[in-house]
């Protein structure tokens, strides 16, 4: 097979997610009362970027054939922590940002340690650690409140040169700094290999444990970046159970829309980012078409249900019925 065809086959999920996003965003802006202006794009990107960070976090874990049901709670926890720490002079703010990101990394590392070295099932383990993280968030912020360094917040949620949303630039920077090096490193390849076939990877001497551990830890870091941005957008910390859960759920939807296989070993965080942006845009379509906001949870749920059911089409390609059972 020629090089470009191979590349196309590999990136099919990502390109599909990109196409869905472009289509949905075109429909969205075409029907938005204000049209395609820098303001509309800025608002949409600020909303979408939050989910994009959490979806990237989920991708890293899903690639290893695991799942992290605590991403939303790490997101909430770091939001609450940032509303205490990311404030004051430049140095204090910088320390706060490092502390928040470090907390996220630690939460992810705890998940990874329990799942990989404790050999527990990721579902149950991360539900339990998610409860712990939410409890800590609630300790930090029993009531919504707190504040954030507003200069930094405005800089990161505003526009560069009056056109480009700064949050999109930040997202791009995170992709370059975290995802690209990881996916090309030995550890990243190990994470893919572990998701594809753990036994084969083990037999080939791939460092699967370290690779999976790095994936879980970096997932915590990415969720923390999301939590930091949530603080920048809202200026407050809020330990909301429902919102943490919703982000976990939507991150799975975004990952599926982004062409990342839930069975592991396939997909990329770039796809998940477009999946997240597409999911957000689809959710907001209701508003431009003047639907009652009450319908939004149902609408998003149905999108999720359809998105996960699409994977079932692979069943038609199964020749041997025994392949139904993994």
């Amino acid at each position: 097979m020629k090089d470009w065809r191979y590349w196309l086959a590999e990136q099919r999920g990502t390109l599909l997610a990109f196409a869905i996003f472009i289509l949905m965003f075109a429909i969205y802006t075409a029907n938005h009362p204000a049209g395609f202006t820098a303001n509309v794009v800025q608002t949409a990107s600020n909303k979408g970027v939050l989910l994009a960070f959490v979806a990237m976090a989920q991708t890293l874990v899903v690639i290893t054939a695991g799942i992290d049901l605590s991403v939303g709670m790490i997101f909430t926890l770091t939001n609450c922590l940032a509303s205490w720490l990311v404030i004051g002079t430049g140095l204090e703010t910088a320390f706060g940002v490092v502390a928040v990101l470090g907390t996220g990394l630690l939460c992810g590392a705890i998940n990874g340690a329990i799942v990989i070295y404790g050999r527990l099932q990721p579902i149950v383990a991360t539900i339990a650690t998610g409860a712990v993280y939410f409890g800590i968030a609630l300790l930090l912020r029993p009531f919504p409140g707190g504040s954030v360094n507003e200069d930094l917040a405005d800089a990161l949620t505003g526009r560069l040169f009056g056109v480009v949303p700064a949050s999109l630039v930040a997202l791009f920077a995170v992709v370059l700094i975290v995802w690209v090096p990881f996916s090309r490193s030995v550890l990243g390849r190990a994470a893919y290999a572990a998701g594809s076939s753990e036994t084969a990877a083990y037999m080939s001497g791939v460092p699967i444990r370290r690779g999976k551990f790095a994936a879980y830890a970096l997932a915590g870091l990415l969720a923390a970046i999301g939590g930091l941005f949530l603080t920048f957008f809202t200026y407050t910390g809020d330990a909301a159970y429902a919102s943490g859960n919703a982000y976990t759920l939507f991150s799975i939807a975004a990952v599926v829309l982004g062409g990342v296989s839930l069975f592991g070993g396939k997909g990329s965080a770039i796809g998940a980012i477009f999946g997240a942006l597409a999911f957000r845009t689809i959710g907001d379509l209701l508003f431009v078409f003047d639907f009652d906001p009450l319908w939004q949870p149902l609408f998003q749920g149905v999108i999720l249900l359809i998105a996960v059911s699409l994977g079932a089409f692979a069943l038609f390609r199964v020749r041997n019925r025994l392949e139904w059972f993994l």
């Binding site: 799942i67 404790g118 579902i123 249900l305 019925r321």
Partner: protein, 328 residues
């Protein structure tokens, strides 16, 4: 020497203790430990009234965990419990608004709605081969969306009917709360199904290796779907009972039952990978979780502390005996 004495003691013990799963024994030992710690904290902890009250509270979780156990035995998981519970409660309460027939059919209608959620889960898992944690999260979201639209458009009746209140809080037999009797009946039925019917044996078989079960002629997809339907129905029934207990159905009433129901099943020694576990263990797990909750609330632990202790206890207990075999 000591070995023979232990052997001698074990030999004289009833058969069911000798054959018991160490996980189940650990869970029961933890219950005794919790009761002991509780009695140090407060005298009234060991009073029959208090214990009976705990058993009554435990029975709601018990009904929900019964369904969860069936699904976990298959090696799957049901994350749609929160809104199955809420749908069961809210639909039963809503049905009561439609005259005397509505009141009479309120409870079956609530359960039926839960069964429908379970059937959607089951079709997704069994026939479309979608990973159970994903499809059940999705149906949970859809159920939530439906309930938000339903209660938002107009405010439906949300108070429990007399029958629901009677089931949850009444006393058909003096001294024994009805909820406990219901849990006992459902539990007994579950034990019977799991150990005496081909359906129950198929559940264990599928949990061990679905391929092997399929090749031995079991219609594994139908069994999986029925199991999810039962789980959905039992969650909804738990919701009906809870609504009767609180005499009101509320939107977020199921949120507090997802983690405890999984925890109860897993702490009771049922393997999260499926195929192994006994109902006795689930009973122990349910009582253990309820006692833990009760002690934390007696100590006036805030919600934050409760969440943290929950999570830590579950991870710790799982690390003790819920680990997967090392991959070699």
């Amino acid at each position: 020497m000591s070995e023979t004495t232990i052997g001698g003691i074990a030999g004289r013990m009833p058969k069911f203790i000798r054959r018991a799963d160490p996980a189940v024994l650990t869970a029961f030992a933890c219950i005794v430990l919790l009761l002991f710690l509780g009695s140090l904290y407060s005298r009234s902890f060991l009073s029959p009234e208090y214990l009976l009250q705990q058993l009554k509270v435990a029975s709601f979780l018990g009904v929900i965990a019964t369904g969860m156990m069936l699904v976990i035995l298959l090696g799957q998981i049901d994350l749609s419990v929160p809104w199955s519970v809420a749908v069961g409660a809210m639909m039963a309460a809503a049905a009561a608004a439609y005259g005397p027939i509505g009141v009479a059919l309120a409870i079956p209608f609530g359960i039926l709605c839960g069964v429908l959620i379970g059937i959607v889960n089951g079709i997704g898992v069994a026939y479309l081969r979608i990973p159970s944690m994903i499809i059940t999260l999705a149906t949970n979201a859809v159920a939530q969306g439906l309930m938000v639209v339903y209660t938002g458009g107009f405010s439906p009746q949300d108070s429990a009917t007399g029958a629901m209140r009677y089931l949850a809080t009444g006393f058909a037999i003096p001294g024994v709360p009805n909820a406990v009797i219901i849990w006992a009946l459902i539990g007994a039925a579950m034990v019977l199904v799991l150990t005496r019917t081909s359906f129950g044996r198929s559940v264990y078989g599928i949990g061990n290796r679905e391929r092997a079960a399929y090749l031995s002629g079991i219609d594994t997809r139908r069994v999986v779907m029925i199991a999810f339907a039962i789980s959905g129905g039992l969650s909804a029934f738990g919701g009906v009972l809870l609504a009767g207990y609180a005499s009101k159905a509320a939107q977020s009433m199921g949120d507090a039952y997802l983690l405890p129901s999984i925890a109860a099943v897993v702490l009771g020694g049922t393997s999260i990978l499926g195929g192994r576990g006994s109902y006795l263990g689930t009973v122990a797990g349910v009582i253990l979780i309820t006692l833990l909750q009760s002690i934390l609330s007696v100590m006036q632990m805030p919600e934050a502390g409760r969440q943290i202790i929950y999570g830590v206890v579950i991870v710790a207990m799982l690390l003790l005996y819920g680990r997967a075999p090392a991959s070699r």
